[in-house]
Symmetry: C2
């Protein structure tokens, strides 16, 4: 317990950065081990923008890279965002200068994590990113530190609060995706350009990071199979519920004999399952370990308070002087990421098939499914006003993805079928 004062440089002064500055101004001695953390220098896009926190006493840098390399700071906090550009340059600069880095940047870690880990470990400094995944829920710490004595088989959960809010609101209010998205943007739950969130990319970054921590491989965002929620229709939300499911954007990573599968899909979760019950902007995650069994964590996945608290916890961890690899193993020993061929995936699926109201439609569809080796677990035909045809929905038993896609292509060509069947996965949770 050295009672050192750490001079902290913060790049990025949005809500998280502002929350962090306020917190450290109020409680510089928050870390129990006795060291203090004081923000001495900052960088942001605009120096003069009105802010809730006073930065007049701090050294200003126009360029985050210059801040990162400044000899006047002992620890660099990166809240700029973006997988490349100034965020990456600044983090590299800080690490090369031997300064510990704390970041909330999921894109940066998911896309360049192994490279940055190698840099950090070569210099013997920590690279921390608790705030990148699940906000204030310490998913990274749990995976990296608490489960170090375990072999993880899978992680699966809800990692994007914006999508969870939109899907929950669609179900609750019966409004369309586009309507609810506009409301979420007005409330500040969704960005002006919502692509990162609703496209599933944000969840994809987060699950790529968790996969690396779980399986000891380098993070590999490029290998993730990603589908967002912008094509989720109210009709499917309603029909899935009739079948006993709720549609959630589920991110999952699992390890099989064939490799690692990292996926983000709108997926059906049974109504009585904890993931189905995590509503609003909540995040939730199951971790399945061979020794520890199934662990479930849930909490607010974003927001200034939780995210700033996660950054502060990382700063406190840096102060302890703990030496750990950035991921599950030193960067040089991370296993290669071998992606499972998606067509080899086996799982239950939901199919919605819009048909003309004519005799023989069900017979033709069920024959085609049988020919493709797809067997049916539950089935629902229900007239829906204004749906443009009659929806036939069914949930299959576990089926290889290749059989499913084959069946879908063949069903699409049936005379009674109006459009390509809608495929959603049933979450394996």
């Amino acid at each position: 317990m050295t009672n050192k004062t750490w001079r902290v440089g913060v790049a990025g002064l949005g809500t998280v950065g502002g929350g962090l500055l306020q917190f450290l101004a109020d409680r510089p001695d928050f870390a129990p081990a006795g060291d203090r953390a004081v923000v001495t220098a900052v960088s942001a896009r605009s120096k003069s923008r009105p802010r809730t926190v006073d930065i007049s006493g701090l050294t200003w840098f126009d360029d985050p890279v210059a801040l990162a390399g400044s000899s006047d700071i002992d620890l660099f906090v990166e809240l700029v965002g973006g997988s490349d550009g100034p965020a990456k340059a600044a983090v590299e600069t800080a690490l090369k200068a031997g300064k510990p880095v704390v970041t909330a940047n999921k894109a940066l870690i998911a896309e360049h994590g192994a490279e940055l880990a190698a840099l950090a470990e070569a210099r013997g400094v920590p690279l921390m990113f608790e705030a990148a995944v699940m906000g204030g829920v310490p998913a990274v710490k749990i995976m990296r530190e608490a489960l170090v004595g375990d072999d993880i088989d899978s992680v699966a959960g809800i990692l994007n609060g914006t999508c969870n809010f939109i899907l929950s609101e669609m179900e609750k209010t019966g409004r369309s995706f586009a309507d609810v998205l506009r409301e979420a943007q007005a409330l500040g739950y969704a960005e002006a350009d919502p692509t990162m969130d609703v496209g599933g990319f944000d969840a994809g970054h987060k699950i790529s990071i968790l996969a690396a921590l779980a399986f000891g491989c380098a993070p590999n965002f490029a290998a993730a199979e990603i589908e967002g929620i912008s094509n989720v229709e109210l009709l499917d939300i309603k029909l899935a519920k009739d079948l006993g499911y709720r549609i959630k954007l589920v991110a999952s990573a699992s390890r099989t004999d064939h490799g690692v599968a990292v996926k983000v899909h709108p997926s059906l979760a049974p109504l009585d399952h904890p993931l189905a019950q995590a509503g609003g902007a909540l995040n939730a995650l199951f971790i399945e370990g061979r020794r520890v069994g199934r662990i479930f964590v849930q909490g607010p996945g974003a927001g200034a308070g939780p995210t700033a608290a996660a950054v502060a916890a990382d700063i406190a961890d840096v102060m302890t002087g703990a030496v750990r690899p950035v991921f599950q193993a030193p960067a040089g020993e991370l296993k290669p990421f071998i992606a499972v061929d998606p067509s080899r995936t086996v799982g239950k699926a939901y199919l919605r098939i819009m048909v003309r109201d004519e005799p023989g439609a069900i017979a033709a569809i069920s024959e085609t499914l049988a020919e493709c080796g797809v067997s049916i677990d539950s089935f629902l035909q229900k007239p829906v006003e204004g749906a443009g045809g009659v929806p036939i929905v069914l949930v299959t038993h576990a089926t290889p993805e290749s059989n499913l896609l084959d069946a879908i292509s063949r069903i699409e060509k049936l005379h009674a079928v109006l459009e390509r069947p809608r495929l959603l996965r049933v979450a394996r949770i």
Copy 2:
């Protein structure tokens, strides 16, 4: 990353100790930072007892205290159990000798934690106890490390898997407490002497530890208000369910302006609440922080696998060289534990009143409740075969505990009332 080999001494070779020995024998290099952990010496009650793991190559100590003080070990793992006696003496001996200690002993930490923390911090060595609370769910790490940037207002949850199993089975099978306890003992879920578990003391130890971590006070098991499950009747499980609740043994710690309240009670949780849905031997915990919001964690709270994994994670943490206070603050700076006067507690309650089937019973009871300032939220009268009278059950609005106890004493004396009303709390979750 020093690539040192840590010689580990393990006292106590039950299922957890055996699991740990096997794990470290299989994977001495499990810790990612590069150090190795090798068990070199052990102590247990009987040297010759048949074991699944071979201890013939290890140094044997009849006395755990002698093992703890041996200069042939670098780290001492205490799995003996018990708040005093050899466990305490051994931990003290190891700490005084400057050796890091990892323990799964909740009684020891709940009853002597502050004293042991002072000893550990004076010698500058870690005292770790992740395995003491919630098995493989890293509740201690979350409270101590991840929420260091937050102010915690309350923690509440299910911390004893044996009680949760018994209550779940009573509801599922309609059998009595005594019947299900016998089954739990036969399955190995309950000890031959089940008092620690079913009396609520085990949960009391765990919540006392969490309270200390949450509020920065010394753990104070003696101040905990503890009620076990041995008086929970099947009748109350059924009637509570009719009112929309499930009875769980809920341990809680909250901070108010008047002090800290640490409690263990059989309590009603709404059926759709995550705590009500954590069945079987699961443990579950809500943590409410001012910055982070509400975090929920759930998982297996006991068992050789999860507990040994938690011990292993603590060993890995020791190897990182991190320096932290044992609790939320250095032992010398822990706040005094000021217990809230229980009569000042305000909450909703469940009352079951057994009455003679005669006119005026409900009128007399509701008048008495009104006179005592207890107002009723929901009410149920339902004939139950073989219950010896007619049960009237009600859930109150939030009421000061003193008013409730006053009402109960007065209702007990009413002519129509057959016995002292049964009081259960509605969990504040």
